[in-house]
């Protein structure tokens, strides 16, 4: 097969699979609805519960707590949304649909690329809903339109990267419930021991070491810089490098899993 035909097939397969997954979200809108409910609850509760304790004003980077909080909750939501990829794939595997795809002469990466791309579209939708709710709660971009778009871009890149981590996990465990549990184990430490909700200086020093150097913190700081103009010491680049590094490791791992014919 010629190279260009092969590339054409890869793209066409990926488009077919992406569309198939998007149909699911369109025909079961409650899925997208419920994946927005939880972060909206977080956003509202944190805003009213911690907002009072932490207070508004100059002590908080970004002025108002909601301005500080929203990029953090968005980062958590993107991480969580990215990890959903594993659940979807494990479900397809359980139903034998992955076996069907594997027996077809289609590209070996399309099933996962289609899944991660459609999950990115879903995450973008959820981010849009959260920004709307945030705006109602008083959130305002402080740093111009281009940087606002940049914030959404860096968040989506991150969710895409973790989608591939989840694709690898989902293909490895092959069971939706296990995939779900595994994603909680990843989400909670990474988001709570980060700059997402509270300033890192308030944590015990041993935890600060971890919190300062992990990808969610860099993502949150990058998002805050882009949204609010809070200087972040290069977090935008750090976050981009994190995402690309994760992709460069987990894309090949996930595809190798898909190709494996051991069981």
């Amino acid at each position: 097969m010629s190279m260009s035909k092969q590339i054409r097939n890869e793209i066409s397969d990926t488009v077919v699979i992406t569309r198939r997954n998007l149909y699911r979200y369109i025909r079961l809108p409650q899925l997208v609805f419920f994946s927005s409910i939880q972060p909206i609850m977080f956003l509202t509760l944190f805003n009213f519960v911690f907002g009072g304790a932490i207070g508004n004003g100059t002590a908080i980077p970004g002025g108002k707590y909601i301005n500080y909080l929203l990029p953090g909750i968005l980062a958590q939501t993107m991480l969580f949304g990215g990890l959903q990829t594993g659940i979807g794939l494990a479900e397809d595997m359980g139903k034998g649909i992955i076996d069907r795809f594997r027996s077809l002469p289609m590209s070996r990466s399309a099933v996962m690329a289609g899944r991660t791309l459609s999950d990115m579209v879903r995450n973008l939708t959820v981010a849009g809903i959260m920004l709307t709710v945030g705006t109602l709660l008083g959130f305002r971009f402080q740093n111009g339109f281009i940087n606002a778009i940049g914030m959404i871009g860096i968040l989506l890149l991150f969710s895409f990267a973790f989608s591939w981590v989840a694709a690898f996990l989902g293909m490895s465990v092959g069971d939706a419930e296990t995939a779900q549990l595994a994603s909680f184990v990843i989400v909670f430490p990474l988001t709570f021991a980060s700059a997402a909700f509270v300033p890192i200086q308030t944590m015990p020093s041993w935890l600060q070491v971890f919190a300062r150097n992990q990808p969610v913190t860099h993502l949150v700081q990058a998002a805050r810089e882009l949204a609010l103009g809070v200087p972040s010491n290069g977090a935008i680049w750090k976050s981009a490098v994190w995402s690309l590094a994760i992709l460069s490791i987990f894309v090949p791992l996930a595809i190798a899993r898909y190709r494996s014919r051991a069981v």
Binding site: R27, K95, R100, S103, R261, A262
Partner: protein, 332 residues
Amino acid sequence: MKKPYAFEVKDVAKYYDGGKVKALDGVTLQAEQGKIFGLLGPNGAGKTTIVRMLSTLLSPTRGTAKVLGIDVDKEPNKVREIIGLAGQYAAVDEFLTGRENIYMSGRLYHLGHAEAKKRTADILERLQLTDAADRQVKTYSGGMRRRLDLGASLIGQPKILFLDEPTTGLDPRTRLDLWNIIRDLVAGGTTILLTTQYLEEADELADHIAVIDHGKVIAEGTSDQLKARLGGDVVEFQLAHKRDLATALKAVASHAKKEPTIDEDGLTITVPVKDGSRSLMAVVGALNTAKIIPTSLSLHRPSLDDVFLALTGKKTQTSEDAASSASKKGKK
């Protein structure tokens, strides 16, 4: 040059858990093109393992598998171009419509939009799914899902089609419909590997049958050859009075292949015969000459059930047993 086998496995083994589970333990099979190859075996025999191996989903621990002469392990992508797979459990997308499911498979075989659309419509028609075609699959019955699954595997016009227990859980009517579809496919030149737990199905459809159990082939041949291994036909009749027994035995003696057996009641006589209905006529003639009118008279051929029982020491499932165990088993 000789035509390559439709598929061929040579001494394949598949071990799990470091050799503790031997799903397949040295299986050799060859299937001619354009025929139905029946793979018959009880639960856990290794049927699905063979199908998964030939359809590129599983690599063997040992041995080679080829489809139309192409090594499955070395060139899986070439094999995928020429096969279709309908697995043991219908793998269809609940939230797509029937039409979308088949069309999607077509696109993944890299058919153009127009071609995929046309073939989809043909297949839906052939599988009598046109009326339900634009409904989401979650509203489909089990039988409809199975047909749809088959439909999705047909869109690439495969040369070799793997059907893993295609009729398990179907009602008798739907099963007959599916049998006809399978026959049509073979008439159109497709080779089919059909696994089944139903003897009558193998008997009815398969040109060549391999019986497997515990990962090994325990018998192979046409259904007639397998039955012949059990010693052929018998004539069975029942007398009205015990006092006729001696006369009757004397009358039929020259037509018996082996010593006739007499039932405990002393009335029912079973005569192994050489030549089916011809022997039956001869026995009738002899009894008539001896002025004995039996209360019942019949010719039996051994069923594949008898063969299976003799080979494995296990009774195979009747369709009803299997249907109820399949519904208990549910999804994997």
